[in-house]
Amino acid sequence: MQPVKPRLPGLVGMLLAALTASSALAQQTLTIAAFPAVDDIVRAAIPQWKRLHPNVEIKVVSRQFSDHHTAMTTALSTSFYLPDVMALEVGYVGRFAQGGGLDDLSRAPYNIGQFAPRYVPYAIAQATNRKGAVVAAPTDIGPGTLLYRIDILEKAGLTQADLTRSWDSFVDSGAKIKASTGSYLMAHARDMKDILIRTGIQPGEGLYFDDQSDVLVNTPRFVRAFELARKVRQLKLDAKVSAWSNEWSEGFKRGTISTQLTGAWLAGHLNNWLAPGTKGQWRAAQLPEGAYAAYGGTFFAIARGSPKEHKQLAWEFIQLMTLNRDVQINAFRTQDAFPALIETYDDPFFDQPIEFLGGQKARLGWREAARKITAVTVHKQDAFADEVINTELDKVLDRGKDIATALADAQRLLARRAHR
């Protein structure tokens, strides 16, 4: 009996302490909604967050990519179950920026303007809508690159310069590759159209619409993209397979696809699961003809309707994720998430050779590209325009439709929607 007596008050005290602690924690839980890879990056940053805010728990709600964005759309439209911070892919940032569902981070209490020079310029521009509101903070970006099989290129007696000098020389090289090795130049002619319509966009223009919602489809930019895509198809230089299909990954594994126009992150996917057996045979180059383009990117945003008492903490969390050098570099090292924070660009990790790319220091090239990419203004009918342009391209490629007619048809369809 003796030992029990002194213990009892201690136990009660501990219980009380635990109770109060848990109720304090219950008041301070920050909910972060994210999708795969980003969720891991967030979880990896929790220890650092705990050092800043020991009393604030982080709860990560993770869903598959499209489920996540559908859930965020629904949450925004009903203002129910809004997380404190949401991760958004760049396409959705543009879409949501049209409405007023996300907080403008350029205003008080956020004032992202003071940090703006620290982000890659095009990424912050992507999150800025026409009224000048900054609806999200960039965390990772996808600088465009040309990945190619050096072994196939050498077999065809070509060099990297032959691929990148101009788009015409790129296609001509493709013909030589096909003739001497049998490999296709690219997965689908559409891939080249996608990059060509994104190059040479003038200030004030978007991809498909300009500032005044005038349709830009019937322009030399689109004519050239369609003509080159058609040439690729006529010379039988594309495998006619879509990205992320089984045939696509099989094409990489077997070496039937010799190049891919893509975001820098694809090198990581190729290494990890798409075609690990081709290690050392790939190289990265800048896009042909001095083109620079972005492929994807991730942002963090705060919904206008999310709990007011958490907004300050939510903003501090976003700052940790996007403005902390260690968090950004760690995400780059572990998840191939290319940093949006410029001050990380002097990190020694950029100078490290990439084994999958035969020891090439490819990150240096991607870093250069990241600085040169310009943002393209987003229009709310972009998703529909994508669909229309791809349909017309299919008609040109598969059924020999005249390019001028195809673009005029697309122009007419889009003009009807432009102002809706």
């Binding site: 925004l76 569902g101 006619k240």
Partner: protein, 311 residues
């Protein structure tokens, strides 16, 4: 053992209490969405702005839908698919039901079950199965066609190259129609079998006495007697065919296929709302589709109500 007074239901209230689960569920999942879509059809709405962001636009959404090329294209696709998958269902199901009715005794339930199986199988499982069946290079359907091409005398009927079922706009619709036919033919067989059992045997006996052959019996006894069930089955096919969504949605990866060849109206209005962010126009289109379904059902009714019929 009796319940205490407080827990007992009075006879006046009891019906309402027992009805309430259905009424409640129907109100939440049936009536509310219906009314909400009717309301939305007259609004323009940027959904990410929240529920307060709707503006009344009158009939603008209807005007847009009626002038939209893709809406008409989707209606044509839907009509094509409804006819190509609906008509064969009945043309095959009736003789098949008669055959099963007359030829199978002990095995009957097993045979009917086999035909009914696709109807109760999950659409996702079916879609995975058919996506691989329709695969251009390795799909069983193309392998089968290739094998038939090697049969002497049949070769000239078969295409030389493997058919790109789900990529070529010309082939998407037949592929979908085959799947829909396969899925629902068994359901119609069951309908007609049930109707066949209600035809009195003595009519056939009398016909045999009068010297009528099997074919004559089929056309002059079986078919007229099945008419009420044909009306029922065709009505279900008309409604189901016009609302066709799942099968083409999954076979075309949710996009409607190359050149939107497999994009039914139901898929288009889904995409209008969730891909193209235009809930107002999508709602207007859904009500236009409702009108089309209503009119065609009414026409079916008229077609089956001939003066001599008892329907």
């Amino acid at each position: 053992m009796k319940l205490p007074e407080a827990l007992r239901l009075s006879p006046e209230k009891a019906p309402y209490v027992f009805l309430s689960p259905f009424v409640l569920l129907f109100a939440v999942f049936g009536l509310f969405p219906l009314l909400f879509s009717l309301y939305l059809a007259f609004q323009t709405w940027e959904p990410t702005n929240g529920l307060g962001a709707m503006t009344y636009v009158g009939f603008e959404n209807y005007r847009f839908a009626l002038q939209d090329e893709w809406f008409w294209k989707s209606l044509k696709n839907t009509a094509w698919l409804a006819i190509a998958s609906g008509v064969p269902q009945h043309v095959v199901a009736i003789p098949l039901a008669v055959f099963i009715h007359s030829s199978f005794k002990r095995l009957r339930n097993g045979v009917v079950g086999a035909y009914f199986m696709p109807y109760i199988t999950s659409t996702v499982a079916i879609a995975i199965l058919f996506s691989s069946l329709f695969s251009t290079d390795y799909g069983l359907i193309n392998v089968g066609i290739q094998a038939m091409a090697n049969v002497p005398g049949l070769g000239w009927l078969m295409p030389a190259d493997p058919i790109d079922w789900l990529g070529d706009p010309g082939n998407i619709k037949p592929a979908i129609a085959m799947l829909v036919f396969w899925r629902f033919v068994g359901f119609n067989v069951v309908l007609y079998l049930a109707a066949l059992q209600t035809i009195p045997k003595d009519i056939y006996e009398a016909a045999t006495m009068d010297g009528a052959g099997r074919l004559q019996q089929f056309f002059f006894i079986t078919l007229p007697s099945l008419k009420p069930m044909i009306f029922f089955g065709v009505t279900l096919s008309v409604i189901g065919g016009l609302q066709l969504f799942e099968e083409p949605f999954i076979l075309t990866g949710g996009r409607g296929g190359s050149d939107q060849a497999g994009m039914t109206t139901a898929i288009y209005l889904y995409r209008m709302a969730f891909d193209f962010n235009d809930f107002g126009a999508a709602s207007a289109m859904s009500w236009l589709l409702f009108i089309v379904v209503g009119v065609l059902t009414w026409l079916t009714n008229i077609a089956f109500r001939s003066p001599r019929s008892s329907v």
